[in-house]
Amino acid sequence: MDTILTFPPRKLLAGCAFAIAAMLAASVPGNEITLQDGKLLAAFDTNSGALIRLENGATSWVADQHPELAVPFRLNMFSPAQKHDFVYRDKNHPVTAQKVSNHEIRLQWKDLVDEQGKSLPIAMTVDVTLTNGALMFTATLENHSPTMIESIDYPYMGDFDEAPEGTPMTVKHLWYGNLPSEDISRKPGVQSKQSLFCLVQSTNTGLYVEMHDPTQPYLLNFIFDRRSLTKSTNGPMRTEFHTSHVAYVHPDSTMMLAPVVMRFYRGDWHAGVDLYKAWRAIWFKQPHLPAWIQDVNSWQQLQINSPEQDFRVPYTNLISYAQQCADNGVSAIQLVGWNHWGQDGADPAQDIEPGLGTWQQLHDFIAQSQAKNVKVILFAKLNWADLTMPWYTNELYKYQCEAPDGKRYDQGGYQYFTPTQLANIGVHRRAVMDFCDPAYRDVATKEFEKILALGSAGWLWDEVCHHATVLYNFAPSHGYNPPGYLYGGDLPLSEQLRATADKVSPDFLFSGEAPEDWLCQYFPGSYFRINAGSVPVNRYIDPQEPLVVSVIGFDDREILNLILMDRYIIEYEPYNFKGYLTDYPLTLAYGKKIDALRRKYKAYLWDAEFRDTLGASVTSDGSSRYSVFITASGKRAVIVVNMESSKTITANVQLPNPRKLIVATPESPDATSTDGAVKIPPRSAAVLMEQ
């Protein structure tokens, strides 16, 4: 294990480029075997086994169209001498290609040869199936060599340049409550730790690519790589696309890789995400939600201390904040910095901070607040170990993630308030804890029990969505054969914490900072920040998921309107979550009107299915956005937001086969009839509902 090194990406790319060029010049295409149905055609070269053509049956899109550019696969080996070797399917060792049935092909490569010409006792067998337009690649690797296989690039598309009608292509994936998008020419990279799928989106069609295993067995990279900058015969300009399985296949072992699924779709990102939703419905375990979070609700986030020991709000003074929440109909306080050394200090310890008061005082505040129907959600982090704390020095170092060379991975910490820290001096840096280590999971669970003991209605795990830059731990003695994939430890730890909480109360709410969708099985509450360009993809995936969005501005109508439009939960954060609700009365007043409107028309605006922009069209004489909801009885609502800062707009809402329409706004909640044309003042929203 200690012989493994991470290969520098630039060298890896340079090595790849050379090897591919050599192979392309020598490759001789053979015959084709194909899988085909009405939606997709996939053709493989019988000599190399490479995927040489991928056609969308519904459109003319040929995603992979030049056989001479095809690459069957690539392995990245570790040698004991710590040198990397790439292994491509060698032309002298042809594939065994067999059409097993009309919808299945089996490919097998044996006795691979590395780039130095050395034969390796490694075999790769791939079953490719085509079912109703879904092309699935399932590979098994038999590694009888003494060398670790670090990664397997498969399936591999050597020429991914041509979009239908020559239109540009973007790559989209789930991340942080959003659907980031990047042009394919910019070599976007998508990682399964963030999103189990990516969409290659063209104007009105796309390719959906999925890691068909939601358990995070290892990292899968979706890689789009630009090859050659100028056109030439031997190395034409093109984009390669492959999925890279960072699987670490041990010597003398066999591993079945996570299947990769490809499907074409017609439409925009909604159609691509629909494919994910259909698969998700099979494996996603819906978590239990307490009743209060299912109703219309809003939160306040409040930070009371930092590692700079400001001790801003003693526990005994917290009740005044809770009282303001109660007075203003705010349902919960996300309490930050309550623990020892404040926010981002002393992690993962979940002890109280003596500078703020006693355990009993905090416990009593939580009970008093919740008696006022203001739930307390305790903010915490279990990912890190504060390097400045004795606990790290004495114990937690045992569970820290290490690089292949045995060096500790660090997380940089966060800066607070003082000029010193804002200059990045004296920041509490942290070691990254190994969630794959069962012993650390027990440590984390003990700390979590301290949160449960305080009696709060839930917790919010900040930074639950990442492990800093760390992907794998290579340190030995962590209870498994390394390396361990950190994101693979997320689900076991979450399951362990959930079981612990269930002993106290199944209603104890798990929420986190933008947990990945697969992690939402345990963390149904998701807290994040949005901007004007954010895509409400998580809301589209799950219309009822508690998605909490921060509101900071002192007259923040813009973000509140988006929260209404996308059925997010308001989280009030005056002074960057360091003030009282009443510090920004304009924002608070408008937020209350929005929640009142949602309570009044709950069937339309809260309990209904969110369709984003599908099912209606809206035109206006200014900047506007809209969303569509469908109630359980099939009635539709359209929320139109005027994004103009000073101009009243007229918006025309068109619904297919509309019923009688009424319109209401946060400021005029009593609905009046409308023909679908509405005037909306600047920075305002209107809700049109079918009767």
Partner: protein, 319 residues
């Protein structure tokens, strides 16, 4: 103005009583919080044909600064004036600021037509009581150039990590209708390639929201040895005399109390919002890490108004 303050105080007192802890810390950090300040005693001023600048004779706060040629009231509202801030962490608690507006100046004296001396002694810190610290500042005005010199005598057993000086509590646009005020900096000290960063009417927070109260920008010296606060046809050049530089400094901007909206990043276009003053703080932060029982002279800071664009302003920089 005094009656306005009194009314404001009457309105806010009940809220403050409820909100005491948060108000305390906001007050600690927000040097614009008038309620915590003493009343003004009088002004001590310097002026020439180009600029005028005034200091409160009791607190030593910088309360007025005007570009006379363009009639630009740069430091406009005296009640938002400020003097300095420093941090002297205690052995068992890091949070221990010393806030200028809470100190009484022992000397605010006009030494000549172009020089004022200010002095604060036995500074009272927020959590460590009175500390044997003496800050002596000299402000000179020569041909339109203001120069801020300061010396800190630290007779305490604490390290003074940072000091903010000079400190403008209400760095104003020429008017609220101003459509563009930006800070321009020249990366790596170059006079070429000046880069703007908008201050008004939009302000983008550039520090982690978790660790600041207000939208904040901090220009590091490796980005620029000087900065220009530029509006249409006029600007202010701020430079640090780095000839004796042996520590790091920063130009710091804080937009109080918040933005209108995080979507638009618009600064409220009014003098106050919800009863809270809207103001931009600007200060030079010296990261001095001054040892106990020592005396340190801060790097002088120069401030000069100019007419023209940023290129005119950058020509004032003398490396």
């Amino acid at each position: 103005m005094a009656s306005q303050r009194k009314n404001l105080k009457r309105q806010l007192l009940p809220t403050l009583w409820i909100c005491f802890p948060a108000a305390l810390i906001l007050g600690v950090l927000s040097l614009g919080d008038m309620l915590l300040k003493p009343a003004f005693a009088g002004e001590v001023a310097l002026h020439d044909d180009s600029v005028s600048i005034s200091f409160d004779s009791r607190s030593g706060a910088l309360i007025r600064f005007e570009d006379k040629k363009k009639k630009w009231n740069i430091e406009r509202r005296p009640e938002l004036g400020n003097s300095f801030r420093l941090f002297a962490p205690l052995p068992d608690r890091r949070w221990n600021p010393v806030l200028g507006p809470k100190q009484t100046a022992t000397e605010v004296k006009k030494l000549s037509d172009h020089e004022i001396r200010l002095q604060w002694k036995n500074l009272v810190s927020e959590n460590g009581g009175e500390l044997p610290l003496t800050l002596t500042a000299e402000v000179t005005l020569t041909n339109g150039v203001l120069r801020f010199d300061a010396t800190l005598e630290n007779d305490s057993s604490l390290t003074v990590e940072t000091i903010d000086y000079p400190y403008f509590g209400d760095f104003s646009t020429p008017s609220r209708e101003c459509t563009n005020m930006a800070v321009w900096a020249a990366p790596h000290g170059s006079q070429d390639g000046l880069v703007p960063d908008e201050l008004y009417p939009h302000f983008h927070n550039e520090k982690g929201y978790w660790g600041v109260f207000w939208p904040t920008k901090i220009l590091e010296p490796d980005r620029s040895h000087f900065c220009l606060i530029q509006t249409s046809g006029e600007g202010v050049h701020v430079g640090v005399d780095t000839a004796s530089s042996d520590y790091r400094w920063q130009y710091v901007f804080e937009q109080h109390p918040a933005l209108m909206s995080t979507i638009t990043e618009m600064v409220p276009p009014t003098d106050s919002i919800s009863g809270v003053p809207v103001h931009l703080e600007f200060r030079v932060c010296h990261l001095i890490f001054q040892k106990p029982h020592s005396t340190m002279k801060l790097m002088p800071v120069t401030v000069q108004c100019y007419q023209g664009d940023q290129h005119t302003g950058s020509e004032l920089h003398k490396p």
